[in-house]
């Protein structure tokens, strides 16, 4: 039972430290786990170390010390295998300007799919997720910020990763686009059993989305738990107030 339980961890971050070459200590001993099938949110103010942590889990950065496992695979030693089961949506990501949305999705699908048919299915699904309709055949450079984000989210989810890593999926979007994105993440995770690890500095949106959250401050985890439970435990109205209380005023 014990062994099986550990393998079912989607993400296991242990004593993670990241010091950038310039000397900035972005993450200072962070530990948390994400269980398979849940939507886990890392929340915290700008500069807390969320992006750095997600980039390490996505195999893009190397930890200074500590370890990170994704479904039991070490993100440093087994990076190529990790890349096959994750899908990463970076903060402020873009798509190739001169391609159409459709071409962008097919390019990505063919990197993941075993056959042409699978790729076509992925693209069809992505078009549906994105909700871009006919605009999918326009060049990416004609898209608004919200449309681009929807395209990128669709490409992240269409490949049916075991773990989707979403960095600030709604930051900078207007209400309509943000609502669409949130709904897609929740529906997709539920219907396909995809584990989602996301970050946000918007503490209110994670109340809606996440089954559990970890509050990060200056590279450390300062609180963790189900949003409603955290709010109750601290006797406050919402997660923002929880944050203010744990960090100590300010």
């Amino acid at each position: 039972m014990e062994r099986l339980g550990r393998v079912n961890l989607a993400v296991e971050v242990k004593e993670l430290v990241k010091v950038y070459p310039g000397g900035v200590a972005a993450v200072r001993g962070l530990s948390f786990v994400v269980e398979e099938g849940e939507i886990y949110g890392l929340i915290g103010p700008n500069g807390a170390g969320k992006t750095t942590t997600l980039r390490i889990i996505a195999t893009l950065l190397k930890p200074t010390s500590g370890s990170v496992r994704v479904f039991g695979l070490d993100v440093v030693r087994e990076a190529p295998r990790v890349r096959r089961i994750i899908s990463y949506l970076p903060e402020e990501a873009g798509a190739y300007r001169n391609l159409t949305g459709y071409e962008y999705l097919s390019f990505m699908a063919r990197l993941y799919a075993a056959s042409r048919r699978d790729a076509e299915e992925m693209v069809e699904e992505a078009i549906r997720i994105s909700g871009l309709g006919d605009r999918i055949h326009d060049k990416v450079k004609t898209y608004s910020k919200g449309m681009k984000r929807r395209l990128l989210l669709a490409r992240t989810l269409m490949v049916r990763p075991r773990l989707a890593i979403l960095d600030e999926p709604t930051s900078g979007l207007d209400v309509i686009h943000a609502l669409h994105v949130r709904r897609v993440i929740r529906d997709y995770a539920r219907s396909h059993g995809v584990t989602v690890l996301l970050s946000s500095h918007n503490m209110l949106e994670v109340e809606y989305l996440c089954s559990r959250v970890g509050i990060v401050h200056q590279g450390r985890l300062v609180a963790e738990g189900e949003p409603r439970r955290l709010i109750e435990e601290h006797g406050v109205g919402n997660l923002e107030e929880v944050f203010a209380k744990v960090v100590g005023g300010a």
Partner: protein, 434 residues
């Protein structure tokens, strides 16, 4: 997998109009325009030269033979070339020509001793032509061409006489009974005619397009990595289930494809240039220089251009990866490009026949000189320099590919090493250029 990546690169790149113009259209148009201008000005100056020939050319004659065929030559010159002949006393030809030049006679024809005796015995006779080249203009080259064609023209004239007078002569002799040697006096010293013509025709005009394309390829490759950072597509790309080597390989393969397209388009332009120039020149003058660059020559030149463009792309990708956006990526390349043009100018003005071999080998082994060196080596048939410059360029290419592979490993591309310091240096460069 690689194919999918390459197709994406090509689609994204080839839809860029700037690229199409710079890499495919420009090299073609440059040569076509150059060919048009050259053949126009050649035709114009040939006409001017012909007008002058109609009025009659002036010519010094040093007759060391004093036989029947030198008399025939004199009659030929006066009747068919309307030559005004100035008789000169025997002496060292270049000294004599200098004296003639002072009297505004630009050429000297020497008939050596035994000229008539040779021809009457059925042996080939030789004439020597000494011409002054005033400057490297097309008209002065064309006029010099008229003088240096005298032996050939006389040979044709004599050939008809010999053939109509007797039927028992050696046909090889009868077809071309007179040969000639032409020497040019340029800026006070004696030079080979063919070399002068090549200096004028190729060394100055032809390198323009390869230099342009090589520079453009470097900035294009820098752009291809710069744009991944600027448009924030790099992070996704690096998180995909593709090896880093695959990413580098895809970028290089697509650069290679574009380089090939660009080389082909340059070759089409070059072939047009050569054919239009040599047809407007016509027989006699000048065809010999273009004869040097045959199909094999063109292929070798294409290979050198291709190698240089590939090296430029690889280097551009490597240097560009240190920038944070398109502008800073390109300024990294631009900076290096300015430094790299110095050896290019050295190569352009070097003389494979006269410069010391050590210096030529040193210049040949500097990257990016290959297209120029190959062109020059072909014209002067000194292929060693072409081989050396291509080999050294290949070596540098391998080195840069290794550096590039290392650069794409790990997190260097996303983080950079000296973060803050490099950023300041980058913006400094951009500001200074702006």
């Amino acid at each position: 997998m690689l194919r999918v990546l390459v197709v994406k690169e090509l689609k994204d790149l080839l839809r860029d109009r700037k690229l199409l113009i710079g890499m495919i259209l420009a090299p073609l148009l440059i040569y076509v325009a150059m060919g048009a201008v050259m053949s126009f000005s050649i035709r114009e100056s040939m006409r001017a030269v012909e007008e002058r020939v109609e009025k009659g050319v002036e010519l010094g004659l040093m007759d060391l033979d004093k036989g029947p065929y030198s008399t025939l030559l004199r009659q030929f010159l006066e009747r068919f070339m309307r030559a005004r002949i100035v008789e000169v006393e025997p002496g060292p030809p270049s000294k004599v020509l200098r004296k003639l030049i002072a009297k505004r006679v630009p050429a000297l024809l020497v008939v050596p001793r035994g000229f008539s005796r040779n021809i009457s015995r059925g042996l080939r006779g030789f004439l020597e032509v000494y011409v002054e080249i005033g400057d490297l203009s097309i008209s002065s080259m064309a006029l010099a061409g008229v003088y240096s064609s005298i032996p050939e023209r006389f040979s044709q004239y004599l050939s008809t006489i010999i053939i109509s007078n007797s039927s028992s002569v050696n046909p090889v002799f009868a077809k071309d009974p007179v040969g000639g040697v032409s020497k040019a006096l340029f800026a006070g010293s004696e030079v080979d005619m063919a070399l002068l013509q090549s200096m004028m025709g190729q060394a100055f005009m032809l390198p323009i397009a390869p230099m342009l394309v090589v520079g453009y390829a470097a900035s294009l490759a820098a752009m291809s990595i710069g744009v991944e950072k600027e448009e924030k597509t790099l992070e996704v790309l690096l998180s995909l289930p593709i090896g880093r080597r695959g990413i580098v390989l895809a970028k290089l393969t697509s650069s290679l494809a574009i380089a090939a397209l660009s080389s082909v388009s340059m070759m089409v332009g070059l072939a047009y240039y050569i054919s239009s120039v040599s047809t407007s020149i016509g027989g006699g003058f000048g065809t010999s220089i273009f004869g040097f660059v045959g199909p094999e020559g063109l292929a070798m030149f294409a290979a050198a251009v291709f190698l240089s463009v590939l090296l430029a792309s690889t280097l551009g990708l490597y240097l560009g990866s240190f920038g944070e956006d398109v502008r800073s990526a390109q300024s990294m390349v631009g900076f290096v490009w300015i430094v790299a043009t110095v050896p290019l100018y050295l190569a352009m003005f070097s003389d494979l026949a006269l410069d010391p071999p050590q210096r030529l080998l040193a210049i040949a082994s500097i990257p990016f000189t290959a297209p120029l060196m190959v062109l020059k080596a072909l014209v002067s048939s000194r292929l060693l320099y072409a081989a050396v410059s291509m080999a050294s360029e290949l070596l540098v290419l391998i080195l840069v590919i290794l550096l590039l592979a290392k650069r794409f490993e790990g997190e260097k591309l996303l983080v950079g090493r000296g973060g803050a310091r490099r950023r300041r240096w980058g913006t400094l460069l951009v500001k200074r250029r702006a």
